[in-house]
């Protein structure tokens, strides 16, 4: 399988103090890290692509580690996560699907274990496209206070023969969460759902 060529890396950290309501004692933080890499399958149909998923694992781990560092360096502070991909116009949505395994594996590894499925979004688009990366609680998908998303994008990426790979993490619940449902304090932690 081809090597991973990283053109550019972008880190975004949002620190949210309030959204019209009481000012949070600890600001809510959500962050994303984006890697813009060459799509080795751009411009033609390649049947056997799955091996590239393994090639992406070191990059995924490096991204997950850097993202935790951008949020202060303590993996235990991370409560939500998500992932996504934007495939440049000369690629297929299936190429973006190669990110599912290495992206999820990397975050679980860097967080020292996390039970919930990592929510994801992906699309094929041009430079400057925006992607709403979905976010849920790392141990129980149904925790309603942690349902969130972060919009990401880079003005000059992905070019046609590139892919933008994204990981997202948060440090807690939405800043004024009050929509009910399962709370983080009620997690049983058996199935990754509740």
């Amino acid at each position: 399988m081809p090597s991973v060529e990283l053109r550019k890396r972008v880190t975004i950290v949002e620190e949210i103090f309030h959204e019209g309501g009481p000012i949070a004692t600890i600001p809510y933080r959500r962050a994303a890290i984006l890697a813009i890499i060459r799509n080795p399958f751009a411009g033609r149909y390649v049947e056997d692509i799955v091996g590239f998923s393994d090639d992406l694992k070191p990059l995924g781990l490096e991204m997950a580690t850097a993202l935790i560092a951008a949020l202060g360096g303590d993996p235990r502070a991370i409560q939500g996560y998500g992932k996504g991909a934007i495939v440049g116009a000369a690629g297929e949505i299936e190429h973006g699907a190669l990110w599912h395994v290495p992206g999820g594996y990397a975050m679980r590894e860097a967080l020292g274990g996390a039970m919930a499925i990592v929510p994801s979004a992906k699309k094929v688009a041009g430079p400057g496209a925006r992607l709403d990366v979905p976010i849920t609680h790392i141990n129980a998908s149904y925790v309603r206070s942690h349902f969130d998303a972060i919009e990401v994008g880079v003005a000059d990426a992905p070019r046609a023969d590139e892919m933008l790979l994204a990981l997202a993490m948060t440090t807690g619940a939405r800043v004024h969460n009050r929509a009910g449902g399962l709370e983080a304090s009620e997690i049983k932690g058996l199935d990754g759902l509740r």
Partner: protein, 194 residues
């Protein structure tokens, strides 16, 4: 603090490859962006001194955040820029009050020097509007390798009564500069121009 800050977003971009050529060391630029309440939204106010003072606070805060995001000492920064986007209930003049009278001095203090004018841009717009923050060398505005720009945007800002304020800092110029002109090794650093 006079500024009522709803959120702060930091963005770091690291370019490692441009047109298949390695960029060594990678070029890096960071923007720190604050979303603040516009105290004069929806009415004409003659005396903008409150916004001028807010600009001074934000110059210190945002320059500090940007430099921290790059992980460098202030004096190692090479270029800088600033910009503001005013929500629909504000005036362009509100952006001017934040950016021009007092924001620069604390930025220069964080960066150690900064003889050159801080290039700027401003606009009025809705949530998600993009700002192209112009960049120029901090000690000599004519250094051609450092003419650049960085796009920033925040999906949920500015709301109608808000202002987005950005300070961008780099530790480098463009990836493969080769259009001649004054180089950084030739800076005299006396007049802020050459």
């Amino acid at each position: 603090m006079k500024a009522k800050i709803r959120k702060i977003v930091t963005i770091v971009e690291e370019t490692r490859i441009e047109m298949d050529r390695a960029v060594e060391p990678p070029t890096r630029r960071a923007a720190a962006v604050a979303v603040i309440e516009n105290p004069f939204a929806g009415r004409y106010v003659d005396d903008l001194s409150l916004l001028i003072d807010i600009g001074e606070e934000l110059g210190d805060l945002l320059a500090g955040r940007a430099v921290a995001a790059l992980g460098i000492e202030g004096p190692r920064a090479e270029s800088y820029g600033k910009a503001a986007a005013v929500g629909e209930n504000g005036e362009l003049e509100h952006a001017a009050a934040i950016l021009h009278p007092k924001l620069g001095a604390p930025v220069r203090k964080v960066l150690g020097k900064g003889a050159a004018l801080i290039p700027s841009s401003k606009k009025r717009g809705g949530p998600g509007v993009s700002l192209d923050v112009p960049l120029g060398h901090k000690d000599a505005a004519f250094v051609r390798s450092h003419f650049d720009g960085m796009e920033v945007r925040i999906a949920d800002a500015p709301r109608a009564n808000e202002i987005v304020v950005a300070v961008a800092v780099t530790d480098s110029g463009r990836p493969h500069p080769r259009v001649g002109g004054l180089t950084k090794s030739e800076i005299k650093g006396v007049d802020g121009l050459r």
